[in-house]
């Protein structure tokens, strides 16, 4: 028990230390400075750019960045959609898994494209090895897209007036080759030697010790699982995701996978400090995020260790905590910690089934995704936080009666309007989706084409917990997270299409918004810091940002949380 918690705390601290080093490296990569890996990657990147006819030195303005980002995503969507649609007849399908229905292919393609990895299929029976590898490709590039967007914002924050914000393709390729690829390779090799399979052979048929016949799914899993975490994607190779004993064989691999999903989101924040030479700013941001994270993680770990009060009443020993949906080799503290790490950072891989978590843990998991700005996914985490900074600057500016400025640029009506729109979009998508689904479930509507049967049929649990299942699915989609209260029957046109739309809107609009704000600000006149400037790298401003985040999340989501996990908590007492 104690050593389990020790392992959790140890890996968290180690990640922070390594993230500072990696952050320095990432800043160097984006600045174009010399790094150790230059001799390997310079020729590869040169070759890629030469063949594609792209000039990586060509400067782009924010609109050109956006255009490039959106068009390449479109190409990937169609590629992935059609492969999934016809995977049954394409090669590399030793288990003869069927092709996807159009609505499932739509949902799956989008969900991997937007770095969410909401999976409405089960890895063992739902996809071929070819599809797995293609999805793995999207895990690389979607993470690269997020990081490239963040790199553009870093460039825009520099103290100067310019429209020239670096080259999108340059940032994108370098993020993939110089950060994601080497880190993934390291993690994959650790996994392979810890028992995760990496084979192209299909299912194995064996007779067990007591004489049952069993088929065992395998596959090229290690390579996939590495980038799934490094790129904060979270899509599992097997149905049970990182709870599966081949996907996450030991407590040690669990620590490695936990490290792998936290390292880049942490490092990106430090990278900002190194890139702008404003270490204090990034330390304050990291501090605010860590305080927020601890507020979420501590109650979760405690409630998982304490176990289920209803089972406590039955008189058995809950010395190992709440074990439903958990694996013995991880235990409740590690599972609880992971469940918040994976929801705060938009990974969404699970090492325990969140549907069976204690009510307080469920509330914290939901809240992590509702806030969606503590650490956050590869690159996009800092984009989300950027929106809250803009709002905090504006509000504090009004409070002290000074012109709101951030890093020497005036924040005016246009930027604040965009920021406010992005901040409202998140609750809007989550709550309207949940309202729609709950309406159908409450009336037990016959769904026709949209769902095979009446609407309550998609729930795996009654009452408040059933409501939480629907709330979780839309929250996870809107946060581009990808974890789920997996009891929900979600592989049907209703859930595939509605969450697919939420996924698209909640990925690209929150990228477009911050890019536009940063681009607009970069073009404005630079005002050097004076006595009248509101300082943004102080703890007071950090608290201010924290308050803005707390108020927006608490006000918009508290009623929904009260109906779901909080109500369940009080019924269990």
């Amino acid at each position: 028990m104690n050593t389990e918690l020790l392992g959790v705390i140890g890996i968290f601290i180690l990640t922070i230390i390594l993230a500072i080093l990696l952050g320095k490296y990432i800043a160097k990569v984006y600045l174009g400075d010399k790094t150790l890996l230059d001799p390997i990657f310079n020729p590869i990147e040169k070759f890629i750019f030469k063949i594609s006819g792209i000039n990586p030195a060509e400067e782009m303005n924010w609109k050109q960045h956006l255009k490039a980002l959106l068009s390449i995503n479109m190409v990937w969507f169609f590629l992935c959609f059609f492969v999934l649609l016809f995977q049954g007849s394409l090669p590399l399908n030793p288990d003869n898994n069927p092709s996807m229905t159009p609505d499932l292919a739509f949902n799956t393609a989008i969900s991997f494209l937007v770095n969410c990895n909401l999976q409405h299929y089960s890895g063992e029976s739902g996809v071929s090895y070819l599809s797995q590898i293609l999805l793995m490709f999207l895990q690389f590039v979607s993470a690269g897209i997020g990081m490239a967007a963040a790199a553009m914002i870093f460039t825009a924050m520099k103290e100067r007036t310019t429209e020239q914000l670096g080259n999108f393709y340059n940032y994108f390729i370098k993020s993939c080759t110089r950060v994601l690829l080497p880190l993934s390779a390291v993690v994959a090799i650790i996994l392979v030697f810890s028992g995760t399979p990496m084979t192209f052979e299909g299912k194995d048929a064996i007779t067990t010790l007591q004489g049952d016949h069993v088929e065992v799914s395998r596959g090229p899993a290690a390579a996939f699982i590495a980038i799934k975490h490094i790129g904060t994607n979270g899509g599992g190779f097997f149905g049970a995701n990182s709870a599966h004993p081949l996907e996450n064989p030991t407590y040690f691999t669990n620590q490695v996978e936990l490290w792998a999903q936290m390292i880049i989101p942490f490092a990106m924040i430090f990278a900002l400090g190194f890139f702008l030479n404003k270490r204090k700013l990034s330390n304050i941001i990291f501090g605010v995020m860590t305080v927020g994270f601890l507020f979420l993680v501590v109650p979760t770990v405690i409630s998982e260790i304490n176990g289920n009060p209803a089972i406590e009443k039955m008189g058995i020993a809950q010395t190992t905590g709440a074990m439903e949906g958990k694996e013995v080799r991880f235990g409740p503290a590690m599972s609880g910690f992971w469940s918040i790490a994976t929801t705060v950072i938009s990974t969404g891989s699970v090492n325990s089934m969140h549907d069976s978590s204690m009510p307080i843990s469920g509330a914290m998991q939901l809240l992590s995704m509702m806030v969606n700005a503590y650490y956050g996914g590869c690159g996009v985490g800092i984009l989300n936080y950027y929106i809250f900074i803009i709002l905090a600057v504006f509000i504090s500016g009004l409070m002290v009666g000074r012109t709101p400025e951030f890093l020497g640029k005036k924040i005016e009506a246009r930027e604040v309007k965009i920021a406010a729109f992005i901040a409202i979009l998140h609750p809007l998508l989550i709550l309207s989706g949940t309202a729609l689904a709950s309406y159908f479930a409450a009336h037990d509507t016959a769904m026709g084409y949209w769902f095979n049967g009446n609407a309550t049929g998609w729930l795996n649990n009654p009452g408040n917990h059933g409501f939480s299942e629907m709330l979780y699915e839309y929250t996870s989609s809107a946060a581009n997270n990808g974890s789920g209260f997996e009891g929900l029957g979600d592989n049907n046109p209703f859930w595939n299409i509605t969450t697919g739309i939420v996924l698209l809107l909640s990925r690209f609009i929150p990228i477009i918004g911050p890019l536009a704000i940063a681009g607009l600000l970069a073009g404005k006149k630079y005002i050097p810091e004076s006595a009248g400037t509101l300082k943004t790298d102080t703890s007071i401003f950090g608290i201010m940002t924290f308050a803005v985040i707390a108020i927006i999340a608490a006000l918009s989501f508290f009623p929904a949380l009260a109906l779901g996990p909080l109500a369940e908590y009080f019924t269990l007492k």
């Binding site: 007591q210 395998r218 709870a243 004993p245 209803a310 020993a317």
Partner: protein, 183 residues
Amino acid sequence: MKTIFSLLKLTLLTLILFAVIYPLAIYGIAQLAPNQGKGETISVNGKVVGYQKIGQKFDKSNYFWGRPSAVDYNAAGSAGSNKGPSNADYLALVQKRIDTFLVVHPYLKKSEIPSDMVTASGSGLDPNISPQGALIQVKRIAKERKLDETKVKALVESKINTAVVGPETVNVLELNVALDQLR
């Protein structure tokens, strides 16, 4: 049009790098790993009886049992039960598991049963149980197999995996393979 072509070419090249070269490199390295990266197996008399990491169903009374599984230990379709903590049907099921466990182990007090023995795992394929979960089955096994109880207990204790950090575990398949060899 020119952009479309360069985007397609960029996609193709990145596909080769990330979806061909990267997995093949890992596949190559996996050839050095245990069982060439096909998953470690456990054999008895040269016959594969299971995967070391994957739990299998044990419901015969002369074997140690693993945890309840929502998918009946189907290793080609992992999943948890996804039952919420307040679900009445679920709680009734746990109560039934406790009652059944007490019928088969009449010598036990309720408070000796650890929760992992009556709750379904996350993957449905958990290969492990807690040491307590194994120790409480010793008396039953010894009786079934007409073995000395202290010998069986010593076997369980020798199969408890401890690490510097992390919970103590017992791999049920490894334990049962060793049990079969116990005379």
